[in-house]
């Protein structure tokens, strides 16, 4: 069983944390990932910094820019994944990338390096199902899950097409817009989770705009199998650029608070989770 399948089989819902590799610097970035893992992130999404991250809001866009200014390359990102793998052998890791990084490297080389570094899945944010024909066989050959995205505006027909190619888990975009924090989660999240649930047995994780403990709880309560928190964590990095100790402390506090929003499923297959402090 893959690390991703194993995680969703033993835990529900899971807490997914997002970080941009190389933000704010290459070495600090590993320490940020380590703090996030040690604070209880169940799955780590690591973004490869890119010059034109159009799907991202201002907070994550600035993180991409900081990482590029620090000189972060895809080679550095694979090195970071190897470090994370060494630190947390069972933790599922998903690379979050824009397609030109993959295209430029060559599809087969990219997925071979992804697998060799120890990542489990790849999410290509600007590669809709219409364009993913060449990528699917390459990912499959190297045993990498391709995490699919479904938006509130995705039609039922396209949901079917997307789900036919998906593996690992499905990333449900909770709102129309780019990544970023929102005061309130939109009401249609429950409807979206329900509609996609009817079409697939894959785990469903909800992201974009999830930034507060009460959002995390709300998403878990409508039956999602995971929540993804990105901008809220990236913002903490940004707010502590001159104070690394404070950065780690704030990340720990935020992740623990957000994990408290999750009410664990009392199902018999779910082992007791460590107690989380509020």
């Amino acid at each position: 069983m893959s690390r991703i399948d194993g995680l969703f089989a033993r835990k529900n819902p899971v807490f997914i944390g997002f970080t941009v590799a190389g933000d704010p610097g290459i070495e600090t970035s590993f320490r940020v990932a380590k703090t996030m893992i040690d604070a209880g992130v169940d799955l780590l999404e690591i973004a490869i910094p890119y010059s034109d991250p159009v799907a991202d809001g201002p907070v994550i866009e600035r993180a991409h820019a900081r990482a590029l200014r620090a000189g972060t390359t895809p080679d550095d990102v694979f090195a970071l994944v190897r470090q994370v793998r060494e630190h947390a052998p069972d933790l599922p890791v998903v690379l979050f990338t824009y397609y030109n990084i993959v295209y430029r490297r060559g599809l087969d080389r990219f997925f071979a390096e992804t697998a060799a570094a120890g990542a489990d899945g790849v999410l290509i944010v600007d590669l809709p199902v219409e364009e993913s024909g060449e990528v699917a066989p390459s990912a499959l050959r190297h045993g990498i899950d391709r995490i699919a995205l479904i938006a509130p505006t995705t039609s039922p027909e396209r949901q079917h097409a997307i789900l036919r190619e998906a593996s690992g888990f499905v990333y449900l975009i909770s709102l129309e817009g780019v990544t970023g924090e929102r005061d309130r989660l939109p009401l249609h999240v429950a409807g979206l989770v329900g509609a996609v649930r009817e079409k697939t047995d894959l785990p469903l994780a909800v992201g974009f705009g999830v930034s507060r403990p009460e959002h995390v709880g709300a998403v878990a309560a409508v039956g999602a199998n995971g929540v993804i928190v990105g901008s809220a964590l990236v913002r903490i990095v940004e707010e502590h650029l001159g104070d690394e100790a404070g950065m780690h402390e704030a990340l720990r506090t935020a992740i623990k608070a957000m994990r408290c929003g999750i009410v664990p499923d009392p199902g018999p297959d779910i082992p007791r989770r460590e107690r989380v402090e509020g």
Binding site: Y50, D52, E61, A151
Partner: protein
């Protein structure tokens, strides 16, 4: 060829959140473009409001100097001072037919922003224009022009704070607001169906030029030349000639030279990559990050180019050349003095190529240059350069 593809180029490399908007746009445009009422109203706006058709001017002095018969297609005489209005009127009217209530656009130097503001004012649609913060300072007059025309200009402070970041910001807005907003993209770039729509609305340039030159000369020209940034004026004049025995030359921004890092020639000096929704030629580093570009002409200062140009380059149907800032500046001054026509610095690139290559045509040769815009917007900048009007 797959829909939305030009050879292998083009496609829809966009976040999932944009796909439904692109699908809606493709369906609506397919329907609207066949609607006689749409054609009638667009025809009225182009003729009565924008001033089409534009002249094809025979240039006696230029012809004498170059040793062949030289015509300028006068898009500089279109309302707004550039070819941009062909596209903004078409798309703004389409947005009305689609029931959209708001237009957004990106702009570099401000020409497309001004053209969108004009179309929005004429058609009663509110306009918001994203513009890189650096560009809002460099082109303060165009910011004022847009505001005067009722548009709101939103400075973009991310990335390089220029055109490509303005496009990113406009795409982000559209991702969040596509239900009531039309993104009026200004060039034949971006995801399908934009390259197709923009080419359709700009093809009026080539259709007129082809008819006009046949009327005047009784035959087709030997060569048609246009400048290429994103490539909309070039695709507009080239497309109706693609199946003719006519040489087509696209002229890119050579900046300080293709052997330097300071140019905007993605076809002559770039490599294949995915950028802002399409597979095309791109100025990028070894990892796939877009590079900073340079041109004296802000409208050519962009790291990528429309996907149809990428196909036309590979097939050899169009030849792409680059001219430097210095050559373009020389052509800017030369055309002003020789014909009394001040070209936009972008269009001056096409004139500069003609100055370099016209000798090959012979005295019966016919050369058509697309004069895509007028140069009033560039006068202040050139005045501050060493040499001034000289």
């Amino acid at each position: 060829m797959k829909a939305g593809r030009y050879g292998v180029y083009g496609g829809q490399y966009v976040p999932e959140t944009l796909m439904s908007a692109l699908i809606e746009l493709e369906e609506t445009y397919g329907r609207v473009s066949l609607d006689p009422e749409f054609s009638r109203r667009l025809g009225w706006y182009l003729h009565e409001y924008a001033g089409r058709e534009t002249p094809l001017t025979y240039c006696e002095n230029l012809s004498r100097d170059l040793g062949c018969r030289v015509y300028l297609k006068r898009e500089d005489l279109l309302h707004g001072g550039a070819h941009k209005l062909n596209n903004t009127l078409g798309q703004a009217l389409m947005a009305k037919f689609m029931g959209k209530r708001r237009l957004i656009a990106e702009t570099g130097a401000g020409q497309h922003g001004v053209a969108t503001a004009i179309a929005g004012a004429a058609l009663g649609l509110p306009v918001e224009v994203y513009m890189g913060e650096v560009d809002t300072r460099r082109q303060a007059l165009n910011v004022f022009r847009m505001e005067l025309l009722g548009a709101r200009v939103i400075p973009v402070a991310s990335g390089t704070r220029t055109l490509k970041d303005a496009i990113n910001a406009a795409m982000r807005d559209w991702v969040a607001n596509s239900r009531d907003t039309h993104y009026l993209l200004g060039s034949c770039v971006g995801p399908h169906p934009f390259p197709w729509i923009v080419r359709d609305f700009q093809s009026v340039i080539g259709e007129e030029a082809r008819r006009q030159v046949l009327e005047r000369e009784g035959r087709l020209p030997d060569t048609v030349v246009a400048c290429v940034g994103g490539g909309s004026n070039a695709i507009g004049i080239f497309y109706p000639f693609v199946n003719d025995d006519v040489a087509l030359v696209g002229v890119e921004a050579g900046g300080e030279g293709l052997d330097t890092a300071h140019h905007g020639a993605s076809l002559s000096g770039g490599s294949v990559g995915v950028f802002q929704g399409a597979l095309s030629y791109l100025l990028q580093d070894g990892d796939g990050q877009a590079l900073e570009t340079h041109s004296i002409a802000a409208g050519l200062d962009h790291p990528s180019v429309g996907p149809e140009h990428a196909m036309l380059k590979d097939s050899g149907r169009v030849r792409y050349e680059a001219v430097t800032d210095a050559e373009a500046l020389h052509a800017f001054r030369y055309l002003s003095r020789t014909e009394g026509i001040i070209p936009a610095l972008e269009s001056a690139h096409a004139v500069a190529y003609a100055l370099r290559a016209a000798g090959d045509l012979g005295e019966d040769g016919i050369l058509v240059i697309n004069l895509s815009g007028r140069g009033d917007k560039d006068v202040a900048e050139v005045a501050n350069l060493p040499g001034g009007a000289a």
